[in-house]
Amino acid sequence: MASHGLTYEGCNFLRQRLVLSTLSGKRVKIKNIRSKDDEPGLRDFEASFIRLLDKVTNGSTIEINQTGTVLVYQPGLLYGGTVEHDCNPQRSVGYYLEALLMLGPFMKSPLKATLRGVTNDLTDPTVDLLKSTALPVMKKFGIDGEGFDIKVRTSWYSRGMAPGGGGEVVFTCPVRKTVRPVQLTDPGKIKRIRGVAYSVRVSPQMGNRIVESARGILNQFLPDIYIYTDHMKGANSGKSPGFGLTLVAETLNGCFLSAEMSSTPQGQGDPILPEDLGRNCAKLLLEEIYRGGCVDSSNQSLALLLMTLGQQDVSKVLLGPLSPYTIEFLRHIRDFFQIMFKIEVQKPLEDERKGGDKVLMTCVGVGYSNISKTLK
């Protein structure tokens, strides 16, 4: 039984490739990983990610050559259960969580993953953002139920800013046999904006300063704005100081658009004033609203994946402009599942003041069913 593998080059989009490989059961080989770099091969955070993947699957084989420039991954079956993982602090927990969100619903037993490390940093979506945007997206696909949650707070500590980390996140996800098709073509109007201004190991005043400046901008549009301040002290506050803001706009039809920003890690780059951060973050949210769509830019690929894995029915979703990451993801979906999306650009009408071009993505699902789940 020949299982035909796929071959890629370079370390970029490693997560996509491994996740899709796991879901489709196709072997994947990645060559030339930083082969011309001064430090060739996989980085620690990638190795950590592969280790996490190994923990949630059963029977996967991973081969890495001596220099770490070639990776061969033969996926096993998704196992789930209780998993604890110390994420490498080079990347935040969001990096790992994004992949787990894609795999979570297709495990053998419900996943309860405890991830430790950096919860908020600049490069990856923070845990707060994923909690407030990714989960509602998945709920639209019928992945819902008790214990579907991302918790940032456990008994010991919760938030950990870059570079030290020291935060803990618990992601619990129920198991689904199939994913249902969706028609998300109308995002509706934004009815409220919520947010969290967090600060750890800094003055508690920081939170209030962020909130004030962010509100200053957003109040021009909407009165219903509430930004929580979340200040952590003592053991809960991780290892490094920092602060940041996550903003989420909720529409009438239950779509969530979000933006976030956090302070530069201690000792790296120029420090940023909380007022500036608040303002900039609010502007980022406006940018996100300008892009629009039913799914915000960081979750586009998650939504597209779930559409692909849906029943053999037509799914539609309206997105903002496709991010480069999403475009690459679409190509990967075609490689792994032979699914092509119908991409239609919807230009705004003349007198419409609803931001830029939207993209309507349509596809027929592959009729994926969770092969790991046990039949009783």
Partner: protein
Amino acid sequence: LEMDGKVKKQKPHQQKHSGPKAEKKKLKKQNGSTEEDERKRNPKAFAVQSAVRMAKTFHRAQDIKTKKHHVPVVDRTPLEPPPIVIVVVGPPKVGKSTLIRCLIKNFTRQKLTDICGPVTIVSGKKRRLTFMECNNDINSMIDLAKVADLVLMLIDASFGFEMETFEFLNICQVHGFPRIMGVLTHLDAFKNNKTLRKTKKNLKHRFWTEVYQGAKLFYLSGMVYGEYQNQEVKNLGRFISVMKFRPLVWQTSHPYVLADRIEDLTDPERLRTDPKCDRTVSLYGYLRGTHLKNKGQVHIPGVGDFQMSDVNFLPDPCPLPGTQKKRALNEKERLLYAPMAGVGGVVYDKDAVYIDLPANHVKQLQEEVRPTTELVQSLIETHVTLDAKMAASKVSLFSGSAGLDPTDIMQEGLREIHVWDPHTQTQRRKVVFTGDEEEENDVSGSSSDEDDDGSDSDQENQEEDDDLSTFLKEARAKSEKATRGSTPPVKKPKLEEMKGEKEVVTEAPAFADSEDELEKSEADSEGEGEAERAGDSGHCSKESEEDSEEEEEDGDDESMEEEIGFMFNFMLKNKLFSFLIPRCDLSVGTLKWKEGLQQKASAAFLRHQEAAPNLRKLVYGSVVEAEDSEEEEEEELGGLFRVNRPQKSKRVQANALDCSHFNPDISHNWDLEEMLNSIRDCFVTGQWEEGQDAATLLKEDEELYGDFEDLETGKVHKGVTGDESDEADDEDQQVKMDDEEVQKNKRLEKKRRLKERFDTEYDDGDATYFDDLKEEMQKQAELNRAEFEDMDDESRVQYEGFRPGMYVRLEISSLPCEFVTNFDPHYPIIIGGLGTSEGNVGYLQMRLKKHRWYERILKTRDPLILSLGWRRFQTIPLYHIEDHNGRHRLLKYTPQHMHCGASIWGPITPQGTGFLAVQSVSGANFRIAATGVVLDLDKSVTIVKKLKLIGYPYKIFQNTCFIKVHYI
């Protein structure tokens, strides 16, 4: 009668006219308890006697009601469904081929002598049927049970049930139950009417217990001239053509093709040097089940797993008639397509057209060469006009690799079949039930195997002739249709060139003496068109002869063509988007309406492209470019060192930071007022759409609910109706005519909304969850149908995959040579698509039960042949049972009458899939050893086994003893 007089007349009833009873009755009559309903007239009798019983009856009623519900599924049947697969099964000599022949004759008025491979016919305006005969081989039975929509189960009534029948029923049960219709044959063997009735009844009831109570059992009473009685066949045909089918889980979730044609495309040179080399084979058939993705993985039962190297869809060789309103099909529409049986005439390939003729005909025909051009020319025209895609393409000679013709391969199979003589080799396998043993014996005593269908062979030659003539007639008819619609060919330079390329025509000797046939069919049908066409074709052939010199490079093919004798290849070089070829108008002179279609399609396509400013290309198209750019030359210095240049942009991207973050557009300055204004309407505070505006909604509400009467004061409030205000406005704007239109639309809209509200209020009141779910599925089904409807097929298959109902050609490279060399069209070739990760292997945990009719119990580690999903494979099962503490304890043997667990290493197949096991495919007794269902898939499995180890103590502490064990 005499007795009547003696019977004592009884005293009639005297009605009382007075007294208390009469009074009571009178009162009753007056008060007029005219109540018809007994419940009301006599409520006491229907009073609740027992609350418990009432609850029970209610429960029962509800149970029965809910039992009728099935989980609603989305109806994914395509608009033009594939032909229905009718599998005809039964033990040998029961009359399977005869039945198929009769049904085909009933539907198409054509006679088919040899039923060989699937036979597809058009049976009605909306239904096509594919008949497949299942021979007496358990592998065929297993494979066909998986693809059957309807099973005609033939039972020799004179003999009773045979083992094959029950085996097949059990196979069906495991792999999803298709519709099963029993057909009793050999009923004329009964001389005694009473035994006939009795046998019928017995068989019927036994059949019912196996299928379901009331399953249809059809009786074919006897043969007339080696065929079943016309009326009975007609009735059976009617049953088939109105039959409804239920969707089966496996079939609806996997694409599959029952191949009706195969071609070996392997390079002849390679074949010559290495006859055992892997073959490249193209398989043809209707796609069924669900959408098939190009380059997907498939399994061919009996052969193995393969990746398809290419999939194309071809024009339907056996299309449904057009959608004109009429009651019945005319003769031309009753098509028959059976390439493996040598019927079907012209076959369109991706890049060639084949005209199949039986080999013996060719030999006869080869002598006369002269009049061929006419027919062949007409055939070519047929193919040009039939199909828009082909019309747009260029016709040229087929170069080089002519595929092996299916008839070629078929001959090999035929030889083998002649060796096999059913009369001598058949071993009838009688089923004996303890209950009706005696009767069975009676029946079997009276039955005999003497009934033979030798009469067929007498007719064979004659029938074959008929076949050809009908085929020619058909071809003729088609060409006539084409020429009638067309204008006489105008001399266009390009057209000529094209005809030049079709130049094989003149050389071809095949249709040499077909003329007389033609004349016959022609004489009564048509006069004038013929002359015109004859003129055409002659003219064209002349032209083509002239042009033939220009096309010298194709000359070598012709000789090959002549050698093959009965095969013509017309290569059509199709472009992917045929309508984009600028030359599309050259060949379309024949059919004007198709030209229009093409233009429309191309216009639509262009419009789409414009709408999406290359976003699709950006996503899917650029990959090719990227791959091109990857070929970078590597310079070496002195053969030892390589120059490490700064990485190219592409490479940088390949090793860039893996991050889903989407950086914002820097050009947007959110401090500017205009930028802020550009998103104002995204908020609830912004401007709303016309229909959803709060003001509009309020006004509507006012119109709907504005009128009310204050009951306390008696004052009537009138809502401000839209009409009033409109009337006022009308005076001002009477000039505008289209204003009225707007008003009308508004009123309609309002009406619709009112209706909607009414519906939601009153209809949905008692809508259950089930109803909602059903409605949801219905909506999804509509959306599925509508979404890609207006697309052309070429781009549609990219998004959807190939949809069921299409006639597809699957190319598979690296098939083992035995597949081709041992090909026998009597065995089904099924190409079953595999879902995601169904091509992988792992441990399967299954629930298994030994079949109660199988005599032996099964032993752990004894090899077993499993039929699971599309596959049949041998594996080594471990049987186990779950203990109370949840562990799986190994069993040495399967329990006698109980389920047990079984673990195998095998192909990953979705949970809930049924399987059956046989120990050997041959054998006299009931062969199905076990059945079961897949429960769990994993890459590791834990089964515990109790061990007894013997040893002696070698160290003893106070309460502890270490024992040394001798391993055996």
